[in-house]
Symmetry: C3
Subunit: 142 residues, 3 copies
């Protein structure tokens, strides 16, 4: 089972997609397997992060803004603005692909884990994430 | 085949789990496929690293301690202490999920690669890692 | 379907392997599924990055050279030279494993995404990448 989720971001920041991913798992009706996510962009990424206290993701954003500063004179690829190259670096330091187990028909996340799209550009973008749900063992059951 | 490994850490540092993962591959009796690991926490991660010289992981730890310092005044999420938010950042900069090929019934690691749980909190924790072993081609053989 | 790609690098830098990976997908004749890559080394990594403007990867290299400097006195594992331990750190901060969807028989990359081997050592090396192509649903079709 493969589908593409289209996520509209409002600019830099992280946007939870756990419910959408979970819905794909439910729709697939598989019991055990893996769900794989792939973001088809090089200036946004996929993130598994603490989902209880929103300050965690604010602190994370602050850390990244300091570690990979916008407008850094080191960068020469600046055609799309001061956040262009930092967005590519942030993508490389994080993940374009995630794979999460499906256990007893549910997304096998830990208690405090959520799945997020992390927009690294300052302006709003439309992001495509390919979701692939893979079942274990159906062949042997058949 | 899915199982959960429970690993008891003694606080910050990396703990080799290659033998445990390898045992799951053997137990599954598959010849070729993939083994997938997922850590159900946001303050510990999974690491593939050089496993010959232990100084490599000490240097890695030193690098991370300097790059993401404990008690950094930038962080506001400090409820669980000075290592709380740095543990989340370290998790995001590294991996919560790993996927390794199974070749001829063995874990397809390179000569110098080992698999580790990387505890980012300073105190001892119990960490759960979901291991999923996926076989290729059994259907066609059947 | 599993194969190993052998890539000869000319020292530090990124080398595109999208055509080689794409050829494996074509050869497998699968319609939908996933292609998984694993690099069997701890001083080189796999990278999904913008493939239109080569300056992006030059800037990325400049960023990494500043963030993880060669010859950093922090490091004690220096047996193979000033780029030895930085290569391990760069590997840990990036990816040893990638998984990309196969859609309609093609590699499901976004328009501006390419796949690269990222050599972190200064000298030329031979790098092995295990490619596993997994099909969805063939069992149910059978």
């Amino acid at each position: 089972m493969q589908t593409t989720l289209e996520i509209a971001t409002q600019g830099r920041g992280s946007y939870e997609i756990t419910p959408q991913v979970s819905a794909q798992v439910t729709r697939s009706r598989i019991t055990s397997g893996l769900v794989h996510l792939f973001i088809q962009h090089t200036s946004a990424s996929l993130l598994v992060c603490e989902n209880a206290d929103p300050v965690v993701r604010e602190d994370l954003e602050a850390f990244m803004s300091r570690a990979v500063p916008d407008g850094d004179p080191l960068f020469r690829h600046t055609a799309e603005g001061p956040d262009d190259m930092p967005a590519h670096v942030r993508s490389v330091l994080t993940d374009c692909s995630l794979c999460i187990p499906v256990l007893s028909g549910q997304l096998g996340l830990g208690t405090w884990q959520g799945i997020f799209v992390w927009e690294h550009r300052s302006t709003a973008h439309r992001r495509s994430i390919v979701v692939t749900v893979q079942e274990l063992q159906r062949c042997r059951d058949a």
